[in-house]
């Protein structure tokens, strides 16, 4: 699923490791999310949305 994680992260000047720490996940998870090849669980998607102060729909784009 396409998402704006990389852009949102760059806007805040965070590294993948910074974002991983804030979300309490591994750096590999951030990488897999940013490539769009791994879709997060609902709890993790909500956590991401809360961290960036945006809705899930504005961060993740359903291509269907």
């Amino acid at each position: 699923m396409k998402n704006r994680l990389k852009v949102l992260r760059a806007e805040r000047d965070w590294s993948q490791a910074d974002l991983a720490d804030r979300l309490e996940v591994s750096r590999q998870t951030i990488n897999a999310l940013e490539t769009g090849k791994y879709d997060p669980s609902l709890p993790l998607a909500f956590k991401i949305a809360r961290l960036f102060g945006q809705s899930i729909e504005t961060i993740f784009q359903d291509e269907a």
Binding site: V25, S26, Q28, T29, Y38
Partner: protein, 133 residues
């Protein structure tokens, strides 16, 4: 699991490696006892089965890691790798079984199935992880 490790992965390694060291120790002790002490009856059963106990502990450590890992992506990679490991192990055992049935291959000891699983699970892991890069 070669990267920076999660607490659950560290706990897994702290359980798995002592179990494997215990396995080597118990295995040699068991082989020695079978050869030199000539145990009989229930004692023979105990001495013979002893090396399986640390292996079961190692299997339990793998299961616990799956339960304790809080990182959902790492858990997903692990689950898929384990499924590949199980699939490869079952496929090879089935092929071997039919070839053995026709007298083409000898009967292997069943305790080799666990190392076969560990090997195929380990080989599958980097391939599964690469899919997400």
């Amino acid at each position: 699991m070669g990267q920076a490790q999660t607490p659950a992965a560290r706990r897994y390694l702290a359980r798995f490696f002592p179990a494997m060291i215990a396995y080597v120790a118990v295995l040699f002790a068991s082989i020695w006892a079978l050869r030199h002490l000539d145990p009989q009856g229930p004692l023979l059963w105990l001495v013979a089965v002893a090396p399986a106990v640390p292996i079961m502990a190692a299997i339990a450590a793998m299961g616990l890691y799956m339960v304790e890992e809080t990182d959902e992506f790492l858990r997903a990679v692990l689950a898929q790798s384990m499924l590949w490991g199980i699939g490869i192990t079952m496929a090879l055992c089935t092929v071997w079984g039919f070839l053995e049935n026709a007298g083409l291959l000898p009967h292997p000891p069943l305790y080799l199935i666990f190392p076969l699983f560990c090997f195929s699970f380990g080989v599958a892991q980097p391939f599964i992880a690469r899919r997400y890069r």
